[in-house]
């Protein structure tokens, strides 16, 4: 089968068999407990709390917001009382200012966004409604969705692509969402197409999810939307790779955006949340998390309220069979290793992956043997080994000159590297250093 794909990439073991056939279970604690809502953790400006300690809040009530354009408000998933506004540890290991809510277990609903607006939104109000609902890219990057949906003037959007590739190993939350609620995803995409009348919709799914492809195709009655199976290859779901596979267009090098080639890419869950926001007027207060890995007793897909402790999710899966050495927020290729389980589930928590010492890859790095495998697999066609050398000798200008800022940190190079070089770590360092330098230059 010759399905669309991109040049480069790797084939990591999928690990999806652990959870792909497990229907989503709802985890909704009915007793009183803490829910933590960090103010940052999306791309853009952090929010400021709009509640105070001691305030009563309702489930679905806005608790934080900001005037900044690139940001999105936060909502409480539970009803209860604000216990504290203080720094709490988040999955990155950092301490972030958070609103801590002591729930009452009743989930008393707050007025919906429709109630506040006074009517069901018109297409011209969709983007505003999406911002109001606190929508960010729910694949993990958490880029505010309303910013994506507000392309610069003059850019005509031709394709709205629902990224259902789910190329990250182990994760199956998007797969389950498509199987359980195909109509809502299609409806969500139709709402976006109303914003961009010239665009066609594409639901792009990797071919290792035949059930989802079948269900989505059967439920799609809209001639402007097509379901497109893609070849299974990591990182098929990377925005630029997806656009190439679907439309044959290359998004120009940074700082160009998908809108420059007339594309908008939305995550599956994001599209579903768009439906929820516009149809029901409900903000983002829940998500599906794939709790998996060989250390987890009973891997599951759980629908959980945001703000719940990751430890509760693990407990709901029967705990650990073996003490994990690594617990990752997200998938194994791009996820972030966590310091502690006592961190809240946030919008971008697509998975919790617990690896035992047998499956976690912990090896000392050795010298680069110039095998060129990294060059072969880099989906951005960079030369990872040169970039690595440049960063290690602190030559950030060279890093930039060799296109380092285009790195998407997919990890294909490090996955392949026979010398186990910590390549992604170098690029993160390089990109951060270049960005810091640019900020400094801009500040003068």
């Amino acid at each position: 089968m010759n399905l669309p794909t991109f040049l480069g990439g790797v084939h990591p073991p999928e690990g999806k068999e652990l959870t792909e056939n497990k229907a989503v279970e709802v985890l909704r604690p009915e007793d009183s407990r803490e829910f933590v809502y960090p103010m940052a953790l999306h791309i853009g400006a952090p929010c400021s709390p709009i509640v105070a300690k001691g305030d009563e809040v309702l489930a679905g009530q806005k608790i934080a917001d900001t005037d900044a354009f690139v940001s999105a408000p936060k909502y409480s998933a539970v009803s209860g009382k604000v216990k504290a506004i203080e720094p709490r540890m988040v999955f990155t290991g950092a301490m972030e200012l958070s609103v801590v809510i002591e729930s009452d277990g009743k989930y008393t609903p707050a007025p919906t966004l429709h109630d506040i607006l006074g009517h069901k939104p018109q297409p011209s109000e969709y983007v505003k409604m999406i911002r109001e609902a606190g929508l960010v890219g729910l694949g993990g990057a958490c880029f505010p969705t309303h910013v994506k949906l507000s392309p610069p003037k003059g850019k005509v959007i031709k394709h709205v692509i629902v990224n259902a590739a789910e190329c990250e190993p182990f994760l199956t939350c998007d797969n389950r969402l498509m199987i359980d609620s195909p109509d809502e995803i299609i409806k969500g995409l139709e709402y976006v197409l109303e914003i961009f009348p010239e665009a066609e919709g594409v639901i792009a799914i990797e071919s290792n999810k035949p059930e989802a492809i079948k269900i989505m195709t059967e439920h799609n009655k809209n001639p402007k939307i097509k379901v497109m199976p893609l070849k299974v290859k990591y990182p098929q779901g990377a925005e630029k790779m997806l656009i190439w596979s679907v439309t044959g267009q290359e998004v120009p090098t940074v700082p160009a955006l998908p809108a420059d080639v007339g594309c908008i890419v939305l995550n599956t869950r994001t599209t579903w949340q768009i439906w929820l926001a516009i149809e029901k007027g409900l903000p983002v207060t829940e998500r599906i998390v794939t709790v998996t890995g060989d250390a987890v007793k009973e891997p599951k897909n759980l629908r959980v309220p945001l703000g719940l402790s990751v430890r509760e999710l693990v407990n709901a899966c029967g705990g650990f069979v073996e003490e994990p050495v690594k617990v990752i927020s997200g998938g194994p290729m791009m996820g972030i290793a966590m310091r502690s389980l006592d961190v809240p589930v946030v919008k971008g928590t697509s998975g919790i992956l617990a690896l035992t010492k047998n499956s976690a890859y912990i090896t000392e790095e050795s010298a680069c043997i110039r095998c060129g495998k990294c060059v072969e697999v880099c989906p951005m066609h960079l030369e990872p080994t040169y970039l690595d050398h440049a960063v290690r000798r602190r030559d950030y200008d060279d890093f930039e000159a060799h296109g380092g800022m285009n790195c998407i940190e997919c990890g294909s190079c490090a996955y392949t590297c026979p010398a186990s070089r910590h390549l992604v770590q170098s690029y993160k360092d390089g990109k951060a250093a270049v960005n810091a330098k640019r900020r400094k230059a801009g500040g003068k």
């Binding site: 630029k240 966590m338 989906p379 993160k428």
Partner: protein, 319 residues
């Protein structure tokens, strides 16, 4: 949970590719041709192979011990170097010469430049070149079944056609030559295994071998013998499959690898036809090894999304 969790950068999983696995695969691929070499050229060959491997591993271990560096003998690269050097030596070579060559390969060519991944030329080939200059007679004495004789290429060089072994002997390796270079069929099988295991790209050996054959035919080398003889004789197969594909000393981009392989083929054909030596594989690869940084610099792949207008995307200049 009492145990501390490990925090590190993604990715958190890894392919089963490792330097050691790669070297092991290369060793497996080399073994059949070596067995055939020992079978046709005598047990003495085995002693040469053993001497080279032991000397290479020992010098790498000793060098790193003296310099307080972490030993890298476990990555098996020194074994590969020893094996390749032995395959490039005549079976009659005095063992002390083989040991000298091995020490030179590992210490001077590899470790002086920083160890694995940093050498600028192939260690085994550089050692062979050094030995060829130092002990020209010992390095070019070929015996088969106890009888000294010229290699097929030397015969071709001399303009004779009658002394060339049959096609069958060329394939199996029943002819005079270095220990590991004679058994064409097993070298090709080893190469196919390496390509199958995704250790080497097929484009380097194929381009190299066919370039040599076609150009040598064009140049009228060996009185216009069938080009297939050109491919099966001398160290071409061993060099093209196992030496020219050495990661450290070959280009990383696809375009670069084609340029490099064509360069190797051109030089080999030139040396075979008009050079002072009957054989040119070693020197061709060594010369192209030195050109690799330049080739790499001019053939970096175009970054995804960068303008398509020029073939050579960057010239190495800072933007």
């Amino acid at each position: 949970m009492d145990t501390k969790l490990i925090v590190s950068t993604s990715p958190h999983i890894h392919s089963d590719f490792s330097t050691r696995n790669i070297m092991l695969t290369v060793i497996y691929a080399l073994i059949p041709a070596g067995i055939m070499g020992v079978y046709f050229l005598g047990l003495r060959s085995l002693a040469v192979i053993a001497a080279c491997i032991i000397a290479c591993v020992a010098s790498e271990w000793a060098w790193q011990k003296i310099n307080n560096r972490k030993s890298t003998i476990n990555d098996l690269s020194a074994v590969v170097t020893g094996l390749l050097l032995a395959y490039n030596l005549p079976p009659t070579i005095p063992l002390w010469m083989a040991v000298c060559g091995s020490v030179f390969a590992v210490i001077v060519v590899k470790q002086f430049y920083g160890g694995i991944g940093c050498n600028i030329v192939n260690p085994a080939l550089a050692a062979r070149a050094m030995m060829l200059i130092s002990w020209p007679t010992a390095m070019t004495t070929w015996t088969l079944n106890g009888i000294s004789g010229a290699t097929p290429l030397a015969t071709m060089k001399a303009g004779a056609i009658t002394g060339i072994p049959s096609f069958w002997h060329l394939l199996t390796g029943n002819m005079g030559g270095c220990i590991g270079e004679t058994s064409s069929i097993l070298l090709i099988l080893g190469g196919a295994y390496l390509v199958w295991e995704d250790v080497i790209p097929a484009r380097i050996p194929l381009t190299y071998i066919f370039t040599t054959a076609i150009l040598a035919a064009l140049f009228g080398h060996g009185g216009n013998t069938f080009p297939v003889f050109e491919m099966l004789t001398g160290g071409l197969l061993l060099g093209a499959i196992f030496m020219a594909t050495d990661y450290t000393t070959s280009p990383m981009s696809e375009t670069g690898q084609y340029i490099y392989a064509v360069g190797c083929g051109l030089l080999t054909a030139l040396i075979r036809t008009w050079g002072g030596y009957p054989e040119g594989v070693s020197y061709s690869i060594l010369i192209m090894n030195v050109a690799v940084p330049l080739i790499d610099r001019y053939t970096s792949p175009r970054v995804f999304g960068a303008p398509k207008n020029n073939f050579f995307r960057r010239t190495g200049a800072k933007s």
